[in-house]
Symmetry: C2
Subunit: 298 residues, 2 copies
DNA sequence: TCATAAGATAACCTCCAGTTATGATAAACA
DNA sequence: TGTTTATCATAACTGGAGGTTATCTTATGA
């Protein structure tokens, strides 16, 4: 069968109103157009849908049954339209973000504020894990977008956007204040007590790689889980720490931490946004990325 | 919103196949037509449905959600079409008939045989009651058609079709065989033992009415529930019975019962088909009536 | 008996859903 | 690396489906 769906909409209105003239009114087309259309529909279906009376039209028994189904169909179509509209206008939906606690606190929050203000009906879900786990969940379609520190070994099914350069540095608290204005080598630093993030973190991997290119192997006194702990232990004088400059602006400004001057240049790193090439980003994912790329907050 | 429903069918096929060219094939329209149509649909919906790639098209997240609803809608439309077709071709459905046991056995069965042979998938339901009850159920839409003995006080919301004349007569068994060739008056008959159907039956009411016009009141010795009992008790010699000639042809032919000759003429009665004017008869109701009216069986 | 309120029919017209032809480009392949 | 293939987009055109207006028919009811 190959009946134009448009006929069903017309049928629906006629059946609903029980009156071709009124239906014509509602559909804003002329009465004869509808008369003809219903006639054609009946011909194509091979049976009568309506009994014509002088007071309008009445559904036949078969027509009633037909109407029941068509009504359902039309409700679904209406739902489809409104749901789509809601999603497009970001009046409904969820965005699932993967990020580290540090990146969330130090990088993401300002963007999320903007996003939430602009699209208050979108639910925001944040998952905190190591980058590797997050990327695998992204690949499975369990996340929409992942915020991570680059470099990351490129995965060909994941799209990476570089968002912002960040710069690591060695830091000390008041206890080692005497080191502040000296230009130190990595070799010299290695002799002091060291307070680093534990193996497994992107930061630590990056630091070890960097040290290796200068034939240094750091043996930290404290392997700490997380960026916050590093700054705190450094601050109270446990030794030399290693952190991202952009994340400790407050502490540097208030002289709780001091940045050391290093002979070897620590290469810059980047914050990246990752999304799956396979799973097309939803409209609200795109909007979040747009916000992050357009407005550089710090 | 006022998007042509026809677009949704096209959208559905494109989404299903993930390929405009293949969809064009399936829909038997050209590829550019579909490209254009999807574009228009996206414009009217105010958002993107598909990502175009060189290998076809992929639904966006929003498109996927949209598709879920549209798919449902289209399934309903397909169901509507096939259900309607089934009903029209009488491959499904139910006919609910009200009738008395006598009318069913003596009148209806041959027609039901034809009907069932012609439309084996239609379920036949028969309800047995007094005519009054049946008509009220007909009026409530609980029955499609009622077979009954006329005359019946006309109801203006019920359509009555006279189908066949029937003729009542007085009958006796061998015990009263001597009455057979005499011409009797009602007055004379009233003196014999009488075997009638009980009050409440149309037959008895008709008989009493008829007697009344000749100032006779019958006082039967046996008030029996049902036509079959009357013929049987008459046959074994309890007295004079009263029955419809057409229903006792067998017994008359095999000389088990004899018809009496009466001075007063018993008016003919009619078998009628009743259906509600309000509730439009279904296609299969019409077919049954058609069968009854076209082919007179006995 | 006239006015009204439906639907059907007829004749005509217009716009848009379709057409064909062609272009652009990424992916597959030789 | 060039060539072929598969796919969607665009442009210009066209015919007929789906619309129009005008008129007819016929129950209903004031």
């Amino acid at each position: 069968m190959n009946i134009s769906f448009e006929y069903y909409r017309i049928f629906y209105v006629v059946a609903k109103t029980g009156n071709i003239t009124k239906a014509a009114d509602e559909l804003m087309i002329s009465q004869p157009a509808i008369s003809k259309c219903i006639k054609i529909l009946e011909e194509q279906l091979g049976g009568q849908l309506f009994i014509r009376t002088k007071r309008g039209v009445v559904l036949t028994e078969e027509g009633k049954e037909f109407y029941r189904y068509i009504k359902q169909a039309i409700e679904y179509i209406n739902n489809a339209e409104s749901k789509f509209s809601e999603m497009i206008h970001l009046e409904t939906g969820t965005i699932r973000i993967g990020s580290s606690t540090t990146l969330t606190k130090k990088f993401l929050i300002p963007y999320l504020e903007i996003f939430h203000k602009r699209y208050p009906h979108i639910k925001i879900e944040i998952e905190t894990h190591m980058s590797g786990v997050l990327l695998s969940r992204l690949r499975q379609g369990l996340l929409d977008v992942v915020i991570l520190n680059l470099p990351y070994h490129d995965e060909n099914d994941i799209e990476l956007i570089k968002v912002k350069d960040i710069h690591d540095c060695f830091i000390v608290g008041d206890a080692y204040k005497e080191l502040v204005n000296k230009k130190l080598t990595l070799e010299e630093i290695a002799k002091y007590p060291l307070v680093f993030q534990a193996h497994g973190s992107t930061t630590r991997r990056f630091l070890d790689e960097f040290a290796k290119t200068h034939d240094i192997v750091f043996k930290p006194d404290l392997d700490l889980a997380g960026f916050t702990l590093v700054t705190e232990f450094t601050q109270i004088g446990f030794g030399i720490g290693y952190a991202t400059e952009e994340y400790i602006q407050d502490e540097l400004n208030s002289k709780k931490l001091y940045k050391l001057d290093i002979v070897e240049e620590i290469p810059k790193r980047e914050i990246g946004i990752a999304y799956s090439k396979r799973n097309i980003p939803s409209f609200c994912t795109k909007k979040l990325i747009e916000i992050i790329l357009n407005k550089q907050v710090f």
